[in-house]
Amino acid sequence: MNKKAESPITIISSVLVLIVVFMVYYFFFILQGANQIELNEQVEQRGDIVLINFVKLNYNLILSSEKSGDYSDLENEFGKLYYLGDCVNLEINQEILRKDGCMFEESYAVRGETPRSTNFNWDVLADRNSFQIQIPGYNNQIISIILKIKNE
């Protein structure tokens, strides 16, 4: 084959290779596959299920504590929920029960702070979940219960 005939064939074949590469990319990676898949490590319903069960099991104790204002027995029961996270709070009609005295601080913006800086507040990186349930009292009054979980 002479050199004059070789040049167009080279162009055509290289272009065809490019087309094949693009088509393979297009069909296999774009049309048939998802680009970004995230795995949810945290199952959010866990808090809901725990809260429902906790309320069912300790219903009368919640009502009597709310009526008397003495939450010590309920706090003991609540302490058993140690597996939920590093910091767990239970709020019953604005009375807050804390596991190990942990304070549940509200989330706020990082405001330009970086983890490298010495005054960086690691609390901002914690995941926070909140689960709420409302229950009726003996005389149809409504009691609101909020479970807050913070995981560092």
Partner: protein, 186 residues
Amino acid sequence: MNKKAIATPLFVIFIIIILSTSIFLIKSNEKKDMVKFSIGETQSEIISAYLQSEKDNLFYEKLVEFNEYRSVKEFAETLPEIDGSFDFRGHFREILENNLKEYSPSITLGDNLMINFGKKKYYIQNQMLKLTYEREFIIAKQPIIDFSLLEGIKENGEYRIGQILNEDLEDEDIYTDIRIKYKPIF
């Protein structure tokens, strides 16, 4: 004119157009697919809606339970002098219905003491899903009072109606005085 001299540039231009179009399509599709797709997100939201309905169901169950306790006490205190045709079940049903309607007038109570709180809708909406989950709340409870036993009472006296939880959430036995109207035979 040489045919190759025309065909080759035309072919190159044609290929460039095809490649540009392909790049454009790939890029535009990439944007579409780059939307975050999280495994289990849809299922998670459906379960979340279901659990919300479970919370409501617990609320209604407890509402019925406490109103039943109050109604049993009221039933024992308000029982009139009765005759053979007195409807114990109807009397209790009326008291329970009044107590429940204090919470919500839309609650209906069937003859078989099935309490219907109506239907409630839960909306699940995200980028990939728009779903409505509807659940009807009907609470059926075995009444504390044994009405068949009451129907069999033929003498005046104090009778045990049942056991309830009182306002201090302690067990309390409820008794009532039953006075029976005697019709003269002659």
